[in-house]
Symmetry: C2
Subunit: 429 residues, 2 copies
């Protein structure tokens, strides 16, 4: 805003954010009383508006891209930032898919009776107010907003400053659709400033208005969130995922799973970063696995045994085992069976997703029990770590935390519950 | 410890606490691999040792009591601190009851198959490392230690400084029983210092070693925890519980439920603090309800309508609606039906437990849907807000948070889960 002297003035940020929190809380109460049909109507409306306003959204996006190019950002960031007609259409379709999911609210999660005649029922209810902090991808504005809304939650969106104009245009579609459906516009709010201090305010919970924060972004964002949050956080630090090829693995299956886990898409959190090969099959399996990776264009960094099978293998150093490459690079190590594989994963893994390839049911059972990650797979690609692939519908991310939600976070994970108790005058003795 | 000059020196607290965290993490890994039978054997052993060492425990308790008396603490605190043979026996029996609960680990929470043949299973696993911060009651050492252990979690106990000697004696029973069962003693650790800075260290998570903190105590403890915690917290701020007597309530049932909710035990979090009476039945129900409360020895603070029915009713002021008396005091207000009752509860309640008394099924359904508390009851006393009464076994408290656990927190709520996925070589397209 511009003051009387014509200077730009920041409105008081803390006060503005408190207002956003207050509105969110009120909207959450209205959403909790709304019907699934009303929330679905708002989602359908948002999808329609995203399509109808594609030109405006792309215009705002062009502005963001021009600003970003001027500031000389990386090509990768420009790509994440860029929208086109296909991406806007994908966003609209994503919102429609979320709309089509079953209502996650009012589910009877458990029901039982007590000897004194009390009947107890655990029923799903909205979480409340969710803060989403994300980076450059403007489509998160639509995805995250729609997911939270489907589960009856009010949401406060804090997108990256690079995508500010795009996100505002997308957000306007959702807010207008909410109003058209008779729901408060404030059910989905966007923080209307690029000021980074707003993130701190959100992480402190806006005076109790925020029930949970979901960060979506790179390591530095997640670390800031973990350091500064005073409210519960659902998120994941990183995905250092492992494939362990056991002595009893079928070679062909192992090659397929390793290539798919690493190379299908290298930039997603479920991509494998480390291959562990059982010493029991190293003589037969290691060379073909390495050859297949190299042939697929993957850089291989290995321990001494792995370097020995191919001259193109670079030496792996300690930091390689800790690294989420998110790129066509893999670290490879020979280990002594499930026991050492599971120790390696406990030491270097991030608790995200790990896979064992083996024909030995006992080895598989041991791996699936002992490895303490959100997702453990037997004879399948780590790239299945995804809410859609799990049949849970759209997701807001994969949680590596152990509290509330672990693994894919979809609409069901964005709910809480309450106990409803039915009596006939019972008193406690 | 004593240094070379003969002075008392505190060992470096941060370093000591980090060591506790490190040991807890290692113990958690061992517990996750242990069998239910082994954990149950440790619990049985702990109960036996509590009985066998009752004299030592009471001796330690006498020391705590003498210190506390010397410092002139309140009679109420002395009572919470005091153990006798019956209380030690109750502790041992409590540990045995927890042992007898079903194993909360390895439960298949959900299981489904995907069109591509993947079979997905959600299985309960331990939460990991739990920090418990509590106040004067030494029995929490046994209860909380046993509950966490039953669910396969390592626990770090930080009791009140007043009960330090008693808690050490109780803790020794558990640690010795763990060792006798072949489990690491460090599965249940007690912070071996009265230094309050240790609480801060625990709340900061000991370098990632602590997965969740559970506070048990009064408002000042909970507020410190909410302010300083950098790890997830499961706990409750307070229990401002309401009974709403609807226009269609049976008077006799209403009197019974109000008296039981308020007076059965006034000091527990599920005790009612406010009575709301529907204007529709105030003419017939208000006076007998107030008379019954006064007759039972309860102080009544009311709005104008309530003061009008009995001269002994004191005027309620704004702060009364916010107050958890934990005493024989109740605030009473006349409201316009379910709508105003539910608005009053949203404004002043703490999201713990509320009850409606009514013969009108529609009013009950509306109250149970609209009121956003962990527990909402129809025609039953708020004092049923208890894990044991819910049939969940022993509990560590009632959570008023919305994340992970809401309502009674028993062994099941002290678990996390993971996804086990069974394939036959599936690759993601």
């Amino acid at each position: 805003m511009v003051d009387l002297m014509g200077r730009d003035t920041e409105p008081d940020l803390t006060e503005m954010m408190a207002g956003i929190g207050h509105h969110a809380r009120a909207a959450a109460a209205a959403l909790a009383r709304s019907s699934a049909a009303t929330r679905d109507a708002a989602l359908a409306g948002a999808a329609a508006l995203l399509r109808a306003r594609a030109a405006q959204i792309l215009e705002a996006n062009a502005q963001d891209l021009a600003n970003a190019e001027e500031r000389g950002v990386s090509a990768a960031l420009l790509d994440r930032l860029r929208l086109d007609e296909a991406r806007v259409e994908a966003m609209a379709r994503g919102v429609e898919e979320i709309r089509a999911l079953p209502d996650p609210l009012g589910r009877v999660l458990a029901e039982w009776s007590r000897p004194n005649g009390l009947r107890i029922r655990r029923v799903s209810v909205p979480l409340g107010v969710i803060g989403i902090i994300y980076e450059s991808r403007p489509n998160v504005t639509a995805d995250a907003g729609a997911l939270c809304l489907k589960a009856g939650n009010a949401v406060i969106l804090r997108g990256g400053s690079e995508s500010f104009a795009s996100s505002c245009a997308i957000h306007a579609c959702i807010a207008d659709a909410l109003a058209a459906a008779g729901l408060p516009r404030e059910a989905v709010q966007m923080v209307p400033t690029r000021d980074r201090a707003a993130v701190g305010e959100l992480l402190r919970g806006l005076g109790g208005a925020v029930d949970v924060v979901v960060p979506r972004g790179g390591r530095s964002l997640i670390e800031r969130v973990q350091r500064d949050a005073r409210v519960p956080v659902i998120g994941h630090l990183e995905g250092i995922c492992h494939v362990y090829v056991d002595g009893a693995a079928d070679l062909e299956m192992a090659v397929g799973i390793v290539l798919n886990s690493k190379m299908r898409r290298t930039g997603i959190c479920g991509a494998a970063e480390t291959l562990l090969v059982d010493r029991a099959c190293a003589a037969t399996h290691l060379a073909p696995l390495v050859a297949a990776l190299l042939k697929a264009g993957c850089e291989v960094r290995g321990d001494a045994a792995t370097q020995a099978v191919d001259a193109r293998v670079l030496p792996a150093v300690e930091s390689d085992w800790h690294t989420e490459y998110l790129d066509a690079v893999i670290s490879v190590r020979v280990v002594d069976g499930v026991a050492e594989a599971s120790r390696h994963i406990a030491r270097y893994g991030s608790g995200h997703t790990e896979s064992i390839v083996t024909g030995d049911a006992g080895a598989a059972a041991r791996f699936l029990d002992e490895v303490d990650s959100a997702i453990v797979l037997h004879n399948a690609s780590t790239q299945f770590a995804d809410g859609g692939e799990f049949g849970m519908g759209a997701e807001i991310g994969i949680s590596t935390g152990r509290i509330h939600a672990r693994g894919p976070v979809g609409t069901e994970q964005l709910t809480s519950f309450k106990y409803q108790v039915f009596g006939a005058g019972q008193l406690r003795p």
